[in-house]
């Protein structure tokens, strides 16, 4: 039983570490600069966004939950053809915690009104912590840990963004510097991977905009974490938001997750979108509930 518990915990940790280090969420399209730093220079307005991710997992008879919060500031400066960004995040999963803070710089070149190319980088400091006082699940047959284990590393992401009329295409090299994590389970190198984002929005009538976003991970198999997210969402009357996000893990376990998005725009200044996982198809008998939210202030 303990072995099963540890296996489940490990699996969940892997998923969560993936989210923590790479910040892949169902609402990725609401703050693209975190997936591709080049996007900051392309943006029209300054923005501050706050987002949360909450997951709850029934493990044996207990309900285990975890949440993370993130704040992000993006400032495009047209005179300099540049964009600056700042982001910070805190994530806690049981006895593990993860803190990330970083700065973004990107430069844009406009070929003409319709075609732009931007190059950007994200430099971040990451701190992983194993809190000895919080260890509960692994304490049965693991050696006792009396002191906190803290590990920090520096990470660099590089992104390229191309805009052609309504079509946006971005490519990111995540973890360009191959940072190394030393934790309780040993030393791990975060492998570099390539992500691609595609975005195309078009109008349906006068009042409806259909927004389509695609995010793929690890397209050249630089690591084993392969994932694809497709988001389609309607913005009605420039106010109401409703859509769906599909998530596919193309690993041997083949997990498909579907989430609904709903949201509200207030005068182009405030925007709130939340996502709720509806169901998942998976070989593993693990059920999880995920709720995400993001609130953006444009100024």
């Amino acid at each position: 039983m303990i072995r099963k518990l540890l296996t489940i915990t490990f699996f969940l940790l892997l998923i969560r570490v993936g989210f923590s280090q790479n910040l892949y969420t169902m609402l990725f399209f609401e703050n693209i600069s975190l997936e591709n730093p080049a996007y900051v220079a392309i943006k029209d307005k300054n923005s501050i966004s706050c987002s949360t991710y909450t997951i709850s997992l029934p493990i044996m008879e207990a309900n285990y939950s975890n949440s993370s919060g993130r704040i992000s500031l993006n400032v495009p400066i047209k005179k300099l053809s540049s964009g600056f960004g700042f982001h910070t995040m805190y994530d806690k999963f049981g006895h593990f915690s993860y803190f990330n803070t970083g700065a973004i710089y990107s430069f844009k070149y406009d070929f003409d009104e319709n075609y732009s190319l931007a190059l950007g980088s994200d430099f971040s400091v990451n701190i992983n912590k194993l809190r000895a006082s919080r260890i509960d699940l692994i304490s049965y047959d693991e050696p006792n840990i009396h002191n906190d284990i803290v590990n920090s590393y520096f990470n660099v992401d590089l992104g390229l963004w191309f805009k052609a009329h309504k079509l946006n295409f971005g490519i990111t090299n995540k973890h360009l510097n191959h940072p190394k994590i030393n934790n309780y389970y040993g030393s791990t190198t975060i492998l570099s991977n390539i992500n691609i984002i595609l975005n195309y929005n078009f109008r349906i009538g006068n009042k409806i905009i259909l927004k389509n976003n695609l995010l793929t991970f690890d397209v050249f198999h630089f690591s084993d974490y392969k994932q694809l997210m497709l988001n389609n969402q309607f913005e009605i009357n420039n106010k109401f938001i409703i859509g769906l996000t599909s998530e596919l893990y193309a690993t041997s376990d083949k997990v498909v997750i579907l989430a609904s998005n709903i949201g509200l725009n207030l005068s182009d200044k405030f925007k709130f979108v939340m996502s709720v996982e509806l169901f998942q198809i998976s070989k593993m008998d693990i059920r999880r509930n995920v709720i995400e939210g993001i609130l953006t202030y444009n100024f």
Partner: protein, 175 residues
């Protein structure tokens, strides 16, 4: 926490900067309210054309049903709170143009909530902070309702949790 404070200040400063000298909106300076869902008392003070600050004192109730030896026992727990919420209303002007009411601060808004809640029985406390959007409206010039939703963090003694935050209030305008 510092980032949240900077966020509040930046929102207020940006709004003050954008003020027009010709303020044609006729809004109350202060709205005093008694709300019974949850029970409490609040004051909304106008800071500028579109910005207000709410100070709210009240109590949440938490109904707990416990089963002991096939006997259900219901217990209502009172959770007193104090709340501060700076708001920026986004549609006063458009509501005026459409002939809708804006008195008593009726309209859509973006806000930042800071709420402290205490538990009298277990002597615990929690602090909830975060940005939210919402809508407030008056009916019959006497009753009001307010709904808001956003994201935030909840500090429970030494722990912190993140997630969706929200509020719903129903009550009376007293002035």
């Amino acid at each position: 926490m510092k980032i949240y404070i900077i966020f509040i200040l930046s929102i207020i400063c940006i709004n003050l900067y954008s003020q027009s000298a010709n303020d044609t909106l006729k809004l109350k300076k202060t709205a005093i309210r008694l709300h019974f869902l949850p029970f409490g008392f609040s004051v909304e003070q106008r800071l500028s054309k579109n910005a207000t600050l709410i100070m709210d004192l009240g109590t949440n109730y938490n109904l707990t049903i416990m089963s002991q030896q096939s006997i259900d026992e219901a217990e209502i727990m009172l959770l007193p709170y104090i709340e501060f919420e700076p708001r920026i209303y986004t549609n006063f002007q458009s509501r005026l143009e459409k002939g809708k009411k804006i008195n008593y601060f009726s309209g859509a808004y973006g806000a930042f909530k800071a709420k402290g809640i205490t538990d009298l029985i277990f002597e615990g406390w929690l602090i909830q902070t975060g940005p939210l959007i919402g809508y407030q409206s008056v009916f019959s010039n006497f009753f009001y309702w307010n709904i808001g939703i956003g994201v935030g963090s909840t500090f429970i003694e030494e722990d912190i949790r993140f997630g969706i935050i929200g509020e719903f209030k129903l009550g009376l305008n007293l002035n």
